[in-house]
């Protein structure tokens, strides 16, 4: 494939945008069906309690109320909320869609009120009386693993859901040979993904046809169809999941929640459309959280900076129940513990524990930001210990481009990389030596300037099927219509990533047509062939690869017909700019003309199958491993502890870029989220399991003036894992920015002897450190 084409590689404006800037796109709550009933869910106010009784009498007779359902109504009728991740010996608690006699976190659904409008449904929900018998609560993950902790799921007799060991190499001898062992305890705080559009479900059941349509704000329409059909005991092909516009996901919509099956079941009871739209408070309480690991890392190192081994003993806070991928997230951390370095021996010992909190699961980066933060924070600690420049320590341990595919002690093969190239570019942009000199000068004047570097690698384009519970391939159909317009059906489910544009660019170039003649359809299981969805930076790198393969099949078929139409030999035909040109006399026929001839097959080769359409299911042979260097320069205010980001430089390598404008946008947004983890955000529960950060008032999603201008550049190291050479970019910014920002602020505090501070680095915490 050529990458200096008309569309591919260009900053093409997005085709999605006109409808979105006009406010006429349709998110779930914008879809209005006649006679829709509204559902409001009553949720647990206790973190851990037996439900003694529920009285719904007053609610049932409240104006406008059609029905009220509790756990007793759905028990045995709606299946449990699914967990798809399988680990040996995993304890999977039963997770009913409405609580069955017991609640284990604040926000757990207890009852559903169905009414003619949402105000009336809320009024009635207030009339439900729940008699709770509170149980002892455990919110601290490390305490939860202890034998004297209250047990959340009695059937297991422990709060330990699983133990998991990862890594290879002789870890004991690595530590025995070390000149120095550097050890630090690190906390990855709990975060809330906060897509600006909360979740929402609209369900409509047609009893005559025995078919249901479920509109859901999700990243995985097909996987949801399968799971919800199983939960409802319904044939999968009678359930249609439609994903309209989705207002952000960041992993929190890569899930199957109680509400999807519950709404489906209610629609089957009331025979009218039913809608539930999550409030922001519910979103904080009952949409998955991310991160939440606490552990100790030890690094074995030689005096010259050569890394010998890394050990990470970690407790992962899973929350009260397992959502779709909850236990899989810490395993991804284990895979990425080598960072972009040669570390011959690595070992992770992970304990996954239940706590009386909402489940954790995939949040932008999903396990990899934890690994990168850990490795990059430790690199700074090691550099400090060895009195080495943190950049030189990193450089010393990086594999050279010739060492790829690079095998890690975590069992991976990094596909391709040139880590020093990005590092050098970032250092040049920052003018690193000069910065260090300026920092020294500023320190003399009592100013607290910090410089933080993070060189990262991430695992993307999820991924080979063997590594994913539901398979990791992706599908695409390219359908050239009789008029020559092209319809693309993709199994990915974009929700802000702009794949309608990127995919039209690819088809525009591959078929030599105007990209505006391409319509990309996604997120409707009755229209699109089965797909996996959008997550793990896979949309382009796996979904786009499937598209390329499908388009190649279409071109191949068209070529056969073109040769027939031109009465020439297929081998002599070239295809350029949408035209098949034949030797020797340069007669040509356009792809549009070929399409028409394929649908009106009056003049076709013998045995020619009419039509011009092809589907491809692309199975990647490996993950991809994007990488890069981020540098953050910050200043801490000595008086207030306030952090000001002075400069932020990011050089990322996501392989080939289809639309650099979209790539940059993804990196901007990613950096913002990662920096917010470093500086502002934290989900806080008190010791009773009450959620203290339950609204946007209390949870610090960054505002525009709290973020800096990001200076971006890139390097291009293509991958051979897919035909686009693209590695994926959705999570890169998030992964690189948390450690770069943290390292910078902690470096600023070096005059106070500070070597590590847990995130978030809020002014109060920093002020205390400086004034202790």
């Amino acid at each position: 494939m050529s990458f200096l084409a008309k569309y591919i590689g260009q900053k093409v404006k997005r085709t999605e945008d006109p409808r979105l800037v006009k406010g006429i796109g349709h998110y779930v709550d914008d879809i209005k069906l006649a006679d829709t009933l509204h559902v409001v869910i009553l949720r647990s106010q206790y973190a851990h309690a037996k439900i003694v009784s529920i009285n719904t009498d007053a609610a049932k007779t409240s104006p406008g109320v059609v029905a009220v359902y509790t756990g007793a109504d759905v028990a045995g009728k709606v299946g449990f909320v699914p967990c798809a991740a399988a680990l040996p010996g995993l304890n999977v608690p039963k997770y009913p869609v409405l609580a069955d006699g017991k609640v284990a976190f604040v926000g757990q659904p207890i009852a559903a009120v169905v009414a003619t409008d949402k105000y009336k449904a809320r009024d009635a929900a207030d009339l439900i009386e729940v008699d709770y018998d509170p149980l002892d609560v455990v919110t601290d993950a490390e305490a939860s693993a202890q034998s004297d902790s209250p047990v959340i799921h009695e059937e297991f007799g422990t709060n330990v859901a699983f133990t998991h060991q990862a890594g290879t190499g002789d870890i004991d001898s690595a530590f025995a040979q070390a000149d120095k062992i550097v050890k630090e305890k690190l906390n990855h705080q709990r975060l809330a993904p906060i897509s600006m559009e909360p979740r929402g479900v609209l369900a409509h059941y047609l009893p005559g046809e025995e078919q249901m349509t479920l509109w859901s704000s999700t990243q995985i329409p097909h996987l949801m169809r399968t799971q919800v059909a199983i939960m409802l005991g319904m044939a999968e092909n009678r359930l249609r999941v439609i994903t309209p516009e989705v207002g952000g996901g960041f992993g929190c919509k890569l899930n199957v929640y109680s509400e999807e099956a519950l709404l489906g079941w209610i629609a089957m009871q009331v025979h009218k459309p039913v809608k539930w739209i999550e409030s922001r408070r519910e979103n904080f309480q009952a949409t998955i959280h991310g991160r939440a690991q606490v552990g100790t890392c030890e690094i074995a190192v030689k005096n010259d900076g050569t890394l010998l081994g890394l050990r990470y003993n970690v407790t992962a806070d899973l929350g009260a129940y397992l959502q779709l991928l909850t236990p899989a997230i810490p395993t991804l951390t284990g895979l990425m513990l080598s960072g972009c370095y040669k570390i011959p021996a690595i070992q992770m010992n992970c304990v996954g524990v239940f706590t009386n909190k909402m489940s954790t699961d995939a949040y932008r980066g999903a396990g990899r930001p934890e690994a990168t933060y850990l490795v990059e924070r430790m690199m700074d600690c090691v550099a400090l210990e060895l009195k080495m420049d943190p950049v030189e320590l990193r450089r010393k341990n990086m594999p050279k481009p010739s060492e790829f595919p690079f095998p890690t002690a975590t069992g991976l093969f990094y596909d391709s990389g040139d880590y020093e190239k990005a590092l050098d570019k970032a250092l040049a942009m920052a003018d690193y030596q000069k910065l260090r000199a300026e920092q020294a000068e500023a320190r003399k004047q009592g100013r607290l300037i910090g410089i933080g570097v993070s060189t990262y690698v991430e695992i993307c384009a999820m991924g080979p099927s063997i590594a994913l519970p539901a398979g990791g391939w992706e599908s695409a159909t390219v359908r050239v219509e009789p008029t020559g317009k092209v319809t693309v059906l993709t199994g990915v489910s974009p929700h802000g990533q702009g794949e309608e544009t990127a995919f039209a660019q690819i088809i525009g170039d591959m078929l030599g047509i105007d990209m505006n003649d391409v319509l990309v359809i996604h997120g409707d299981t009755s229209i699109v062939q089965y797909g996996i969805g959008t997550f793990g930076s896979r949309g382009l790198a796996v979904g786009g690869a499937a598209l390329v393969k499908a388009a190649e099949k279409v071109v191949a078929k068209a070529k056969t017909l073109a040769a027939h139409l031109l009465q020439t030999d297929e081998a002599s035909l070239t295809f350029e700019n949408g035209k098949f040109v034949g030797a020797p006399n340069d007669k040509s026929v356009s792809i549009q003309e070929v399409a028409l001839a394929a649908y009106i097959p009056h003049n076709v080769p013998e045995d020619f199958e009419p039509g011009l359409t092809a589907t491809h299911f692309f199975e990647p042979k490996n993950f991809t491993f994007p990488s890069g260097t981020h540098i953050c320069v910050s200043e801490v205010d000595r008086e207030t502890g306030d952090v000001k980001i002075l400069r932020y430089i990011a050089v990322d390598d996501c392989g080939n870029q289809i639309n650099p404008m979209i790539v940059q946008g993804q990196i901007h947004g990613g950096i913002a989220q990662g920096m917010a983890q470093a500086l502002f955000e934290e989900v806080v529960y008190d010791e009773n399991g009450q959620l203290l950060t339950g609204e946007l008032m209390d949870y610090a999603v960054p505002k525009a003036h709290q973020l800096p201008f990001f200076e971006l550049d890139h390097t291009v190291t293509p991958t051979d894992v897919n035909p686009l050479g693209a590695k994926g970019v959705g999570e890169a910014g998030t992964i690189g920015s948390t450690p770069a920002t943290a390292n910078s602020v902690i470096d600023a505090l070096a005059p106070f002897g500070v070597t590590h501070v847990d995130l978030p680095l809020r002014p109060e915490k920093l002020w205390k450190l400086m004034n202790n």
């Binding site: 006109p18 006009k22 600006m196 922001r280 901007h668």
Partner: protein, 156 residues
């Protein structure tokens, strides 16, 4: 309660519950779903509209308070099939990804540029602090605001 108001130049006479939020009137009664809801607690700004020429968060205004008012929503911005310069700028500068914050953001930017036609970067960032975007990191929104300012100033 009976109220009458104008939304994007169309008059509505309607009977509403006193507790009905303006954003629900816009979305559910007038069917204008471009005004989004992201929090209902006046933090996120997804519901931003213009009331009598001033920006307001419609999740924190009762419909009855808008009695007699002229309300402009995102659907009222494009004229004769032409995008408003601020809409154009968001498209041009990639100022949106998922698009959920976008209508409210565009309304807020219109208000900002009305008060300050030539804002600095810092004034822009502070000027949109009532609107959260989780996708863009704001950088391209800032670019879009600058581009909008240029376009609007050129029209004068």
């Amino acid at each position: 309660m009976k109220i009458s108001l104008s939304i994007n130049g169309t008059s509505y006479d309607t009977d509403v519950e006193p507790r009905l939020l303006l954003v629900h009137l816009l979305r559910d009664v007038a069917g204008l779903t471009g005004t989004h809801i992201g929090c209902e607690t006046s933090i996120c700004g997804a519901c931003t509209v213009m009331i009598n020429g001033k920006t307001a968060k419609s999740c924190c205004v009762l419909a009855v308070q808008a009695d007699g008012a002229e309300v402009t929503t995102i659907e009222g911005m494009a004229q004769d099939g032409q995008l408003h310069p601020v809409q154009e700028a968001f498209w041009e500068k990639h100022g949106l990804q998922c698009g959920y914050c976008t209508p409210g953001m565009i309304m807020a930017v219109c208000g900002l540029l009305k008060d300050n036609p030539n804002p600095t970067d810092d004034q822009i960032r502070h000027g949109i602090e009532g609107n959260l975007c989780r996708c863009t990191g704001y950088q391209n929104i800032v670019e879009a605001v600058k581009y909008s300012a240029e376009k609007l100033n050129a029209q004068k």
